[in-house]
Symmetry: C2
């Protein structure tokens, strides 16, 4: 009984988790098949470009999610409300460090070159949006840009450290420090 998945987007969540947990090379088609519940035939039907297209689709979905839930509020909403909301939203998204940032993982690996445009634009957009919020909160342009870069880097570092120490509290402490520095 072949099941019917009419939407390519339906498999993106599972796909995203597999890449997150195993990286690009570690995510074998066998594993992807298991986790999405689809055979190779179906996978290649939705993603004729194979793994590379799957990863690109996942990166695009992540970029879309952050654009809507993180970057846009930073650019448009009241910064004093948007920045704490970013912290909360990031804490939930990364499950207090239990989940890693796929874009960060790709940035560190040898697949970086293959997805360099998507990786670069994700981080550039984040820094830019946060800097805008800081400017509207009254900072100088240069200071805002500096603090934004520091905060985005700190979030990535917090994910590395939380995974390394296997300590969700370390991630929560990091987020609290980042929020305090942004609002100071």
């Amino acid at each position: 009984m072949p099941r019917t998945v009419t939407e390519r987007a339906d498999v993106l969540p599972a796909l995203s988790e597999v890449f997150r947990e195993h990286g690009f090379e570690g995510a074998s088609l066998a594993l992807i098949g298991q986790r999405t519940g689809l055979g190779k035939g179906s996978l290649y039907h939705f993603f004729p470009g194979g793994k590379e297209e799957m990863a690109a689709a996942v990166l695009a979905e992540i970029d879309g999610w952050f654009g809507q839930h993180v970057f846009r509020p930073l650019r448009e909403d009241d910064p004093q409300r948007a920045m704490p909301e970013m912290i909360r939203s990031v804490g939930a998204y990364f499950r207090s460090g239990g989940r890693v940032c796929l874009v960060g993982v790709f940035a560190l690996g040898d697949v970086r070159d293959r997805f360099s445009a998507a990786i670069r634009s994700y981080f550039a957009a984040w820094i830019e949006a946060l800097a805008q919020a800081l400017v509207r909160a009254g900072r100088d342009d240069a200071v805002a840009r500096d603090r934004a870069e520091e905060a985005v880097a700190a979030i990535q570092g917090a994910l590395v450290l939380a995974r390394a120490l296997d300590d969700a509290d370390a991630f929560r402490r990091s987020l609290a420090r980042i929020e305090a520095r942004l609002l100071a």
Copy 2:
């Protein structure tokens, strides 16, 4: 004409670079053979446990290097001198972000569980050593621990960001911020 490599340590630098650049799964034996200049036979002679033993040896070497050049000075030397020296030394070691932290890469990947002890002890030792320096510089214990954790996480984050943006200056700016916060 078979060349003779009497020391297992002789291949560690090349081995370390391969794992750094390609991750654990991406570092194939073929690649390792090319970069070390050794055939599989020789590799398995030095590392009977295969890739896992190779990676463990690399992690041990890294831990030794940081212990000697970073952790020990932080614990023993004048903190006002040791902390800037740590920043300088880290900047050189990671080639201004052109080189990634293998321990951090492993922490984010699915090999984390296999090397969890080594990964955890590396970061724990770093935070501990830096916290000791901060205490001797006059901070309260709790504050010192917090700042140490923040700085170590920030270094990892700076590496992710520098690779993502392909921007060595971003790494240098991050290191400057971290140094300023440590000495503030």
